[in-house]
Symmetry: D2
Amino acid sequence: MQIGDPVTPQIEARARDSFARQGLMTYLGAEIAEVRAGLVTLRLPYRAELTQQHGFFHAGGTSAIADSAGGYAGFTMFPEGSSVLTVEFKINLISPAQGEFLEATGRVIKTGRTLTICQLDVWGVTGDRRKHVAAGMQTLICLHDTPDAPPA
Amino acid sequence: MQIGDPVTPQIEARARDSFARQGLMTYLGAEIAEVRAGLVTLRLPYRAELTQQHGFFHAGGTSAIADSAGGYAGFTMFPEGSSVLTVEFKINLISPAQGEFLEATGRVIKTGRTLTICQLDVWGVTGDRRKHVAAGMQTLICLHDTPDAPPA
Amino acid sequence: MQIGDPVTPQIEARARDSFARQGLMTYLGAEIAEVRAGLVTLRLPYRAELTQQHGFFHAGGTSAIADSAGGYAGFTMFPEGSSVLTVEFKINLISPAQGEFLEATGRVIKTGRTLTICQLDVWGVTGDRRKHVAAGMQTLICLHDTPDAPPA
Amino acid sequence: MQIGDPVTPQIEARARDSFARQGLMTYLGAEIAEVRAGLVTLRLPYRAELTQQHGFFHAGGTSAIADSAGGYAGFTMFPEGSSVLTVEFKINLISPAQGEFLEATGRVIKTGRTLTICQLDVWGVTGDRRKHVAAGMQTLICLHDTPDAPPA
């Protein structure tokens, strides 16, 4: 399996179900645009509730969708019955985060039994225009035999 | 002036006014707990709208308040008429982010004419119990002669 | 000018002269393999003097050439008479750093008047085999009107 | 055991033996100044072989000793028979790295079965004067049942 390949319906459903349990993603208005092997794209439409003091998207929102995009990119490559946590991430905010929506991709650059490393990128999109607004890197940990949901 | 010293009412008002214009902070329910020279503390009460898939605070919320705490810590030391932007930050999520609320501090470790570096820490607080849940570092840029608000 | 384009002989000479003044690069045995616009490649041959405790290249050597590759990638795009300093970098050591030599590339992903952001990558190379051993990101600052050499 | 407590002679010897096998540390001229529980201090005397183009210590040397200080800080807390690898680190170079020697400390801020997080700090020291020149964070992984030496 190569990064960017299609995934099985089971893997896609597992990522979408987990994403749907992230209260913050729903509350911010983020949605999954695409799930591929080791490559997940999220979108976050602009709203005044997501801004910083100059009216751009707040770095916290930009980071939140970058982190989730990377987490689910890693998760597509994890074995059944495992769970994903972010160990750490780093993000450079390279241009003001403006646009009708932000698009964040997480792309696996190395996967291992325990740790997975992702590249994170965020674009501000308005009509046909895409501007690279953030770039980062993320370290994920795979928790084997750990359900990806809270205890019932 | 030492890090942690009291600030003038003008500096405190400038930080609080700017924070109040961050749509995301209001929407998440974050508030400023304390403004000191180069040291700002924010709080974020727990809500289901802030969670990740296991029911803990989402790293995006943890990061958002860490980033704002650092940004305003730097801003207290910036000259009148300037504005603050985050260049980049890095955060390690060292324990599951649980508690009645999160408390984030940004603490300036180096300030310069252009760049300011902050230490970021987040605790999960329940009653008397405080657990260190995240630690990070942040680089800020001071935009001189740039109003800290959107054009009217 | 696009990233990866050829540079003028003047720009190449400026980068190579500055590199030659980095005592550490000479001492480690690193050399410039290629200078392109916003894209610089360095090589570091294996020696026992560069190892960590398991006999792999030490993360310090891997980081040193990644940092210099990024710094000179940025420097190719800076105006005449300016100088480059690293503000910060982050590096993930994704595989044991082994090989006949390491090859590090710095690639500019955003350039601005003050700050420039680079992607850093390091490969371990043995014969035809290249293994990705480290990936990072770097923030550089351009010091305008500052000679890139110590005071005489 | 608290961070900064004295260590047993066995733990100190284990750290010093491993450090002595790091070819790079010897080659750069670095030495261990102190080993405490989760807190290790290294020193690196100034030499022209360690410089960048302005004559300061190169960020690669600063990073190398910060990385080793953190690695051995973590290693003091690891079980017998295990080994340490750096997963990633991030460093801000907050002032020009000048002085008779650099002093780097690694301090554990969270230790777990698999991952350990350290704070990294480097000072430039000249006589009685100490200047904070770099600050960073590091993620380490503990390889259980893995000898801390190359295969014989």
